[in-house]
């Protein structure tokens, strides 16, 4: 588990009451989803109505409350970083058979470096 570090008390919190069209395009770029101007416009209205719902949270005083990241208070189990029988190389063909494009055991993507 990552230990919780409380925020320094002078942290300024930004409350964004609504998004701009430019922010929608920026978020879509971060999420790697192509978005047309029409889509960005209709998405903007819907996202803003959802954020209006979410803003209810901002009025709640949560000072001193530790964030709850998970439903169970438990330590992450660790295992040795070794392949087991289920991960044997024979399964590579089965897993690559469903890939869009492969060659010689590698996944192919468009050229990145000229």
């Amino acid at each position: 588990m990552i230990p919780y570090k409380p925020l320094p008390s002078n942290t300024s919190v930004i409350f964004a009451m609504s998004l701009t069209l430019e922010q929608v395009r920026r978020v879509a770029q971060l999420a790697r989803i192509e978005i047309s101007d029409d889509e960005a416009n209709s998405t903007l209205a819907q996202l803003n109505s959802i954020f209006a719902l979410i803003e209810e949270m901002q009025s709640v005083d949560t000072q001193g409350i530790e964030p709850m990241a998970h439903a169970q208070e438990m330590m992450q189990r660790l295992r040795d970083d070794l392949p087991d029988a289920r991960d044997s190389g024979e399964r590579r063909a089965a897993f690559q058979a469903i890939a869009p494009e492969t060659a010689e055991g590698l996944y192919l993507v468009p050229k990145v470096i000229e």
Binding site: I14, A16, L19, A28, A31, E34, I50, P67, A71, I98
Partner: protein, 490 residues
């Protein structure tokens, strides 16, 4: 046969009154006859199902059958099943044939159950009405103009119409309990960590939990006996001794069956937001529970009203991270035309994901982005703790909580599809349970006109046997769950 409980089916198979092949064929025939009206299944593979049934018959003939051996079970199309198309109701996985079995699928196979088919659902389990599926909406067998609920809407419709004896579901914010309520079924979402998430396509990993939908609580207990158990391949699986979830149901109480059980009535569940006819049914059920020996106390969950807001930060945040893996490289859909690698990602995801999934990815990406993380994500996690603390406080005064599963009966297809916020609010009573990681059951509690209503019972961690027993005892005196939707009885 279609009105038989899982126990009765096991007895019929054990006594050779019917074979697994005959039983499987009976349900395949029902699917062929009725599913065009419902759209409950995405994939049927009769040959694969029947070959599992033949193996089950051999196992039964050797006298090695267990409680589910030979019984057909429908699986939500979120569970990877080897050799089966596993789509999560998304175009991006339309061509995905899983090379491996999810732990849940493996456990059913080990028990000798037959995989009857893969059921329709909201795309990536994101929805409350089963209208976001790439394969089209599912219809409610009780009224074909209405939604079955979601996201496990195909599983719910299939069980309700008796196109399978039982089905699996997954529940991130109510996706088992809410469709169970709208389709007159029992649905259980176990304590987080009781059923392995390995091979179950992830939506919001800190909230997702698999469970079961079936007519009765006794059926659900038998399903949970097979599904539950520690799995080293799921890092959040809880390592604890196996338990028999039927044990309280099978016990014979001296005196009143629920004597000594203290049930809390959270005032936030029983307020003005509920349909008055649903409230009448809940009040009648409270009187029935008193007759069964339960005592009632008033409790409060003061932060419950914030659960939808916190959920719509936490679940999209986790989804935006989980769904980053769908990139058109290793499996799934790849756009046919693109300029470069980045464009390939952007187009594959734009064309592969539906509108609701994209919306949630965008919300999640935004709330996790620089400058907003503290205001949204950490604030939502702090509110999550306040909600979990409310439940802990309530359980100091009672054993279970009771209220409606959903404020109203099923709504019409299309009614809420254009307004995401209205759709999100239909999960108002179920979401808090996922945030806290608690187990919850929905049981049928009567009808508003021709539409079913559901009663939710919430228990403390690991109280599934007690929860299912509380639903079971009520079902013994009020057998709403035995009613079949007209038009599907034959």
């Amino acid at each position: 046969m279609i009105s038989s409980s899982l126990q009765q089916l096991a007895e019929a198979l054990g006594s050779k009154a019917i074979s697994s092949v005959e039983l499987t064929q009976l349900y395949l025939d029902r699917i062929a006859r009725h599913d065009a009206r419902l759209n409950a299944y995405i994939t049927i593979d009769a040959e694969a199902s029947l070959s599992q049934a033949r193996l089950a018959d051999q196992r039964l003939a050797r006298g090695e059958g267990g409680p589910l051996t030979g019984i057909p079970i429908a699986q939500k199309d979120i569970f990877c099943a080897k050799g089966w198309r596993t789509t999560c109701a998304s175009r991006i996985l339309d061509n995905f044939v899983s090379p491996y079995d999810a732990t849940v699928i493996q456990r059913f196979a080990d028990a000798g159950a037959v995989l009857l088919g893969k059921t329709n659902m909201d795309e990536f389990a994101m929805g409350s009405s089963n209208e976001t599926s790439y394969y089209g909406p599912v219809r409610n067998p009780w009224d074909l103009d209405c939604v079955p609920g979601g996201s496990s809407g195909g599983s719910a419709a299939a069980v309700a119409a008796r196109l399978t004896p039982a089905a699996t579901g997954t529940d991130t914010g109510g996706s088992i309990r809410q469709p169970a309520a709208l389709c007159n079924l029992t649905g259980i979402k176990p304590t987080y960590g009781v059923v392995s998430r390995w091979g179950m396509i992830a939506f919001a990993s800190s909230l997702d939990q698999a469970g079961a939908l079936a007519p009765s609580a006794a059926d659900c207990a038998r399903l949970l006996n097979v599904m539950a158990g520690f799995d080293e391949r799921d890092s959040t699986s809880i390592d604890r001794p196996a338990e028999d979830y039927c044990r309280e149901i099978d016990s014979r109480p001296n005196g009143l069956p629920l004597a000594g059980l203290k049930i809390g009535l959270p005032k936030q569940f029983l307020g003005e937001g509920n349909d008055p006819q649903v409230m009448q049914l809940i009040e009648a059920a409270i009187a029935d529970y008193e007759q069964l020996g339960a005592e009632f106390v008033d409790v409060s969950l003061p932060n419950m009203g914030l659960s939808v807001a916190a959920y719509y930060v936490i679940a999209p945040a986790e989804a935006s991270s989980n769904l980053a893996r769908f990139d058109g490289v290793r499996y799934g859909y790849r756009a046919p035309d693109y300029r470069d690698l980045n464009d390939m990602y952007r187009r594959s995801r734009a064309q592969g994901f539906g509108a609701e999934v994209k919306r949630r990815i965008l919300i999640g990406t935004y709330v996790l982005s620089h400058g907003y993380y503290d205001a949204y994500y950490l604030q939502a996690q702090r509110i999550r703790r306040l909600i979990a603390n409310d439940f802990s406080e309530a359980f100091r005064h009672c054993d279970l909580l009771l209220g409606p599963t959903i404020p109203s009966p099923a709504f019409k297809l299309g009614d809420k599809a254009a307004d995401p916020v209205q759709m999100y609010l239909s999960d108002i009573y179920t979401i808090a349970v996922n945030l806290a990681g608690l187990p919850g059951v929905s049981t049928p509690c009567g009808f508003v006109g021709k539409l079913p209503a559901g009663l939710q019972l919430i228990g403390n961690y690991f109280s599934e046997a007690r929860l299912l027993n509380a639903a079971h005892r009520y079902q013994q005196v009020k057998p709403w769950h035995l009613q079949l939707p007209p038009g599907f009885a034959e």
